[in-house]
Amino acid sequence: MTVLGERPGEPRATEGDRMRVPRRSPTWGRRARWARHSVQAVVLAVVAWQAVEHVRSGGPSAEALCPFGGFETAWTWITTGRTVAHVHTANLVLAAAVLALAALGRGSFCGWLCPLGTLQGLIHAAGRAVTDRIPPLRLLRRRLERGAGIARWHRLDQILRWGRWLVLAWAILGAAATGTMVFREADPWIALLLVAEFELSLAFVVLVATAVLALVVERPFCRYACPLGAAQALVGKLSPIAVQRDAAACLGCDLCNKACPVAIPVNARTRVTDSSCLSCLECIAACPSSNALTVTLAVPTFRTARQDFSETRRPAPADLGART
């Protein structure tokens, strides 16, 4: 069993030391990204195919493939054995699958499967590609990115992130109280599926706002308004698996922070247990150090937990003045 931390007898680093850490092959990162994007493309294609079939031949709507419908209908289904309108047993099954996935991989549904997240990522990538080729826009984007580091924006970002919890409460309680999908009126995913039957609605406004924001902020709906992400986060907090940073191998290059689609400060964490983590593994793919970021399973071991805890509370002389 591995106990992370400084090993007995291992020489301590002192200020000014040159640390050498093994480099991860850049190919690894490229393959990891390729794998994720391939899975996202397949899921997006399946959903798009079902949406087209629904319009073309009256087949089942792609709404039947939305796990959040299962959460919305849960109360009605438990109390009456029926589902609310637009929701079917497939939604309940997918909701159960997403919960199981969250228990194992936190927000991995969002990071690997969710087509709305994929579309936001595509829009953001397109926005970057365009702005990189037009000098005035490139300058503006860089200024915005520099501005993103200021405290005021950070504070606003943190406040806005509470939005998805509010949306989750509204969607679940509203569906339980009224027996209808109240969130459907503001759901950008529904607006996208029904884009062929265009109607100016709140959902369409949210969709457009999401698309515009995604040009400058990666995954804005996931960060600030997605109730499914919030529901997963509740279960994901119990997950024993997380990305873990070994500071002894961390270069402090911030590439992991820049790669994170939801702007988690990965290099300030020991274990990335943030509720917004998508388990997309982009941080690991971006990390040039082989051992700095790894996926780890927390093993409950009660026998030595007290001893480890006391050791962590006792500051070692060499740790004083360490970079935080």
Partner: protein
């Protein structure tokens, strides 16, 4: 004395030329955590993540819980297993086929259902439905309800459900 310290991982002791050097002025901070952790291989982990929902869906399909139409969960799942029980070619398809499952209650009625499905499920005639929607009485019963809605008489699916609930539940 300034020296080169290596990380505690076995790979770090191999002294490969591709090693990265921490910038001067930065110090390594030993990781402290109260948790005992084991590394998880990334590839099997990702494969497990992808297989898990697929297995849940496959299990639901096997047990008849996967239905992409209908609002009465258990009833529709059962219809899905039974397939075309009425022999009219428009039976329920719980596996998510092209035709929605037949309604078992007014709330199950959807715009994608045909007039035939509705008159089979409730004690009404096709003529009554066409009159309700202000449509021509010689239309085929295979017409979808949403087509009748789009004809513009002002009648919609929620109103049809309310109307159906009268004679069937009263």
């Amino acid at each position: 004395m300034r020296g080169v310290h290596r990380t505690g991982r076995p790979e770090a002791t191999t002294g490969r030329a591709a090693d990265l050097a921490l910038p001067r002025g930065r110090r390594a901070i030993p990781t402290h955590t109260v948790l005992h952790t084991r590394g998880v291989p990334v590839v099997p982990y990702v494969l497990t993540l992808l297989l898990l929902p697929a297995l849940v869906v496959a299990g639901a399909m096997t047990t008849g819980w996967w239905a992409t139409t209908g609002t009465a969960a258990i009833a529709q799942a059962a219809v899905g297993q039974g397939g075309d029980e009425r022999g009219d070619g428009q039976g329920g398809d719980g596996s998510g086929g092209g035709v929605p499952a037949a309604p078992v209650a007014p709330d199950d009625v959807k715009g994608s259902m045909t007039v035939q499905q509705v008159i089979d499920a409730f004690p009404i005639t096709a003529a009554q439905v066409f009159v309700l929607f202000g449509a021509a009485p010689d239309l085929p019963t295979s017409t979808q309800l949403k087509t009748l809605v789009e004809s513009g008489s002002g009648m919609d699916i929620p109103a049809l459900r309310t109307w159906l609930a009268g004679p069937t539940t009263g």
